[in-house]
């Protein structure tokens, strides 16, 4: 009994520093933010103590904020659909690649992921700018007679978000496809199924939990995208994460910024819980 409590005290001591940092550095600030989201913002006198859901109501009812929310969700859906469709073949290619190729391919996918979104957005500016690569190619081919405006459009942001999310989608799908039984695929093909039928009836159903997990991860990332919409969408293109920053830093409207932040967090947490649930069920089933 006393040995067990000494043991537990030792574990508690070992856990204390990290726990204190996360509680003080994240939990307490989040609680304060949650409280502030219920305050009122009075122009001219900053924040007024209150207990109201007005800020949340505003996000849903005010056409301006509703448009931001709709743009964000539409963008997240579109980018995720594209990522899943084009990411699947890459993921299965990497999953089936011989070991010496696999590390190189994984590095190729992981490096852009960690380099940061501002640098990748810079690359997209070279591709899509007035005097960029795409315009040069189109002009040379005679498809357009003068440079087209690709920057600061919905399409530019979507292209950027797809390139940001693809590595995550490919990695998630890859790790699930790697674990699926090759024998099931072989069995289907030896019974005369065409490759496409095999893919539709065997590979895809087996990979479905991975598809769901990758899709939700991509959706979360797109919902929270900051640098890509700011740099490729320009000052007038509004998505939720940039508007949190704008409300808190530029407008000094903390209550509304906090409410926007919590709307984002709520969506993210619900989806994350769904992802872990789906993945847990796969592992339980395997």
């Amino acid at each position: 009994m006393s040995a067990a409590t000494t043991e537990q005290r030792r574990f508690a001591t070992l856990l204390a520093p990290a726990t204190v940092i996360v509680v003080a550095g994240l939990v307490l600030p989040l609680l304060l933010m949650a409280r502030y989201s219920l305050n009122r913002f009075e122009p001219g006198q900053f924040m007024v103590e209150a207990l109201t859901f007005g800020n949340y109501v505003k996000i849903i009812s005010d056409p301006y904020y509703r448009r931001i929310a709709v743009t964000t969700v539409t963008m997240a859906f579109t980018a995720t659909a594209i990522c899943l469709v084009v990411g699947f073949p890459v993921a299965s290619a990497i999953a089936r690649a011989p070991a010496r190729w696999k590390t190189a391919l994984l590095l190729l996918v992981i490096l852009p992921l960690f380099v940061g979104n501002a640098v990748r957005a810079a690359g997209w500016m070279v591709a899509l700018g007035q005097k960029g690569l795409l315009n040069w190619i189109l002009l040379r081919l005679g498809i357009v007679s003068e440079p087209a405006a690709f920057m600061y459009t919905w399409g530019a942001v979507c292209a950027g978000i797809v390139s940001v999310n693809l590595p995550y989608v490919v990695l998630t799908l890859q790790s699930v496809l790697e674990g699926t039984e090759k024998s099931a695929v072989d069995a289907a093909q030896s019974l005369g199924a065409t490759p496409f039928t095999t893919w539709r009836l065997v590979t895809l159903p087996l990979a479905m939990p991975g598809v769901v997990a990758a899709g939700l991860l991509s959706f979360i990332l797109a919902m929270n995208a900051y640098a890509t919409p700011v740099l490729l969408g320009g000052p007038t293109f509004q998505m939720m994460a940039p508007s949190v920053a704008d409300q808190v830093l530029q407008q000094s409207n903390w209550p509304l910024g906090a409410a926007l932040a919590f709307t984002l967090t709520a969506i993210t947490l619900i989806l994350t819980a769904t992802v872990s649930f789906t993945l847990a069920r796969t592992h339980a089933g395997a």
Binding site: F11, G25, P29, M33, P89, T103, V126, K131, E178
Partner: protein
């Protein structure tokens, strides 16, 4: 099934396979393209971005180094990432021991708590810490908002989940009998941990250090709220520059970031399975 259908299917199958392979190559190119274009831009001779370039030059690397804002951003990011990662390892290695070895009530809850900086959106973490620091500053008079401490603590927070994940994964694989031998020969638990266990989980520690560093060094969403004039990190300096214009100078700085992070990842891929980490 007749031989005819098998033969009849072949050309279609070959074509489909080729198309699939081409699609894979295209998607990989799409992922790599933004970085390749940044590298290309950094070598262009002209002062503004024009495709095709007028010529090639290395001078923008020198120009970039002489821009105070960018150089000090690079230096700030380096030391913030180094301090945050060191502190991150110091607090998470003991915690990982407890999480990997202990079976105690609330273990799952603590694990979830330590992983939470990876789940809560970065922009929300940044905004909350900023608001919290300003509030504490108002209450206590301590100059916290816009101080280097704010950034270091926030980045320390970001390294915690990565370090916990990588170190616990390595601890689970440790052969306990070696530790038991050391203990039975009279070594204290602390000495055993430092001289027997730590060397065995070395790859996990290196991977944790690299990922902590990389995650801190590249962060935008959290840092955005905590930088102050003269206290700007490199990604924020790049972001602010790009909001204004794009030119070979900023591309050269970006290449420095790509090379630094690339080297760190290549080094890690030699000691740990990257596919399992992310």
């Amino acid at each position: 099934m007749s031989g005819e259908t098998i033969l009849g299917r072949r050309p279609v199958e070959i074509l489909a396979r080729a198309a699939l392979r081409a699609a894979t190559a295209l998607v990989l190119a799409y992922i790599a393209m933004p970085l390749a274009l940044v590298v290309w831009l950094s070598f262009m001779a002209g002062e503004i971005m024009v495709v095709p370039p007028e010529g090639y030059s290395l001078r923008w690397y020198g120009v970039a180094w002489n821009q105070d804002q960018l150089r000090s951003g690079f230096v700030t990011s380096l030391w913030v990432a180094a301090v945050a990662t060191t502190l991150g390892l110091l607090v998470t290695v003991p915690a990982s021991f407890a999480l990997a070895r202990g079976r105690f009530p609330g273990r799952e809850a603590v694990l979830q708590l330590l992983m939470s900086p990876l789940i809560v959106p970065g922009i929300v973490i940044g905004a909350s810490i900023y608001v919290f620091l300003v509030q504490v500053e108002i209450e206590t008079g301590l100059p916290l908002a816009g101080s280097a401490w704010g950034i270091v603590v926030a980045h320390l927070l970001l390294t915690v989940p990565w370090c916990v994940r990588l170190v616990t994964a390595n601890l689970v694989g440790v052969n306990r009998s070696v530790e038991e031998a050391a203990l039975s020969l009279g070594a204290s638990p602390l000495v055993t941990a430092l001289t027997v266990t730590l060397p065995m989980i070395w790859p996990g520690l290196v991977a944790a250090a690299v990922f902590g560093f990389v995650v801190s060094f590249g962060n935008i969403e959290v840092s955005l709220f905590l930088v102050a004039p003269g206290q700007t990190t490199l990604p924020i300096a790049i972001l602010q520059y790009l909001q204004w214009k794009i030119d070979p100078t900023i591309a050269a700085v970006s290449v420095a970031q790509i090379v630094l992070i690339g080297a760190a990842l290549v080094a890690t891929s030699r000691i740990t399975n990257l596919g399992k980490v992310v």
